[in-house]
Symmetry: none
Subunit: 139 residues, 4 copies
Amino acid sequence: MPRFRNTISLTADAALDALSAAVERAKAIQVPQCIFIVDTSGETIASIRMDGAKYLSMHTARAKARTAASINGATGAMTAEFGLAAGIASQGGVTHLPGGLPIRFDGVIAGAIGVGSGTGEQDFDVARAALKALGADEV
Amino acid sequence: MPRFRNTISLTADAALDALSAAVERAKAIQVPQCIFIVDTSGETIASIRMDGAKYLSMHTARAKARTAASINGATGAMTAEFGLAAGIASQGGVTHLPGGLPIRFDGVIAGAIGVGSGTGEQDFDVARAALKALGADEV
Amino acid sequence: MPRFRNTISLTADAALDALSAAVERAKAIQVPQCIFIVDTSGETIASIRMDGAKYLSMHTARAKARTAASINGATGAMTAEFGLAAGIASQGGVTHLPGGLPIRFDGVIAGAIGVGSGTGEQDFDVARAALKALGADEV
Amino acid sequence: MPRFRNTISLTADAALDALSAAVERAKAIQVPQCIFIVDTSGETIASIRMDGAKYLSMHTARAKARTAASINGATGAMTAEFGLAAGIASQGGVTHLPGGLPIRFDGVIAGAIGVGSGTGEQDFDVARAALKALGADEV
């Protein structure tokens, strides 16, 4: 019986490219953002806080990225009641705030991105720009 | 391309003057208060807990000040659902409680103040007395 | 340019087998142990606290496993001064205590194991029994 | 009496350029690194964890950057005894580990950089490459 399974992980170079693409999109829509890229277990690969972004949104952006990696799906779909309870139980790990997306290639998760400081729609918009630049699966 | 941007930061002397004015106002309305003055990144410059104030309100006053600095605006305007979710994700950093105000001069942020232990109205009242004493922009 | 790199991750079934082998060895040497199996980013896959083991050793066992995964090597080799400083800076993440080993197959890391509650020698002894049961590389 | 003092802050674009230069240097010396750029109050502007770097070094790199910003000087000069005590008292904020440098322009601090995962010398080497790319003061 195999003792391990094959996995993939976003490279640091790709994470930097993702940040750049996200920053470019955030500038285009004139919404300074905080952006986190994490691996499949939620450890940070890269992050950026744009000039004028809310600095405390670094925390929400990170939680969104970690939640998207954990659930292997977009954040924002769980109910507020569940999200708050899970957020408390995980000491800020889980969030139901929108703006987190898994980064997948051919259906296999390689990491996740979380964006915060704008509205939920703006956050997703910027996150999707990063996915597109990476050639990752649409979510 | 410039590698840095010009910013301003409230002086420690000004922070003490702000505390004095806030304390004076709190005495006038007979509501002992907890007051935090933070810089634009949320680090504490000065704080005071008045006799008779709730000591745990030091935490809410600090969170209000840090949130006001982060959003560059008054606290109390975000929805409870968002405030709770962002508060959990930021491990107590963000709060939607009223009583936090940015300290701005000619529209440029130099820090923020947070007041807690009274009602939201009393907290704002005391925070505004500090802004007035500093000659800071009304918020 | 490839956007991701190929990685491997220990399966949960393998982690349970590792725990069983470690427990069997701990019983044989009559030293109840705390054992953690983590993935390559330090997230827990499985854990066990044997009857009679020091319950706070769950924390050291976890730190040993996380450190072994982080450095991709056995714990216990860094100086105490560095280990303490890194442990403080990582809020208990890094430890220089012996008893942590990476779990590798053909040189590729798939996770790590950390054992605590015995002496350093006993901890390593139990960790190695787990590696052997998995058919993992000797460390 | 002026109520605020003039300060400067590294831009996010400059922080990304600093990361890129640091990564390039780390690749040249073949030492994968964790790199943090923080503002003058220690809040993160940008970070990167290179492929193969120790993920727990993200914590030490951050502490180095925050300490360098706090002391407005290079880390690594305080005694181990003081560094450990201050690190404990600041819950991981202060560190005496080498690898943190202030980012200054004409003597004025604009932020700081912290590098971890290599030796102290390698960490400083990579940090200095970032300063040079920014045209910041040598430290």
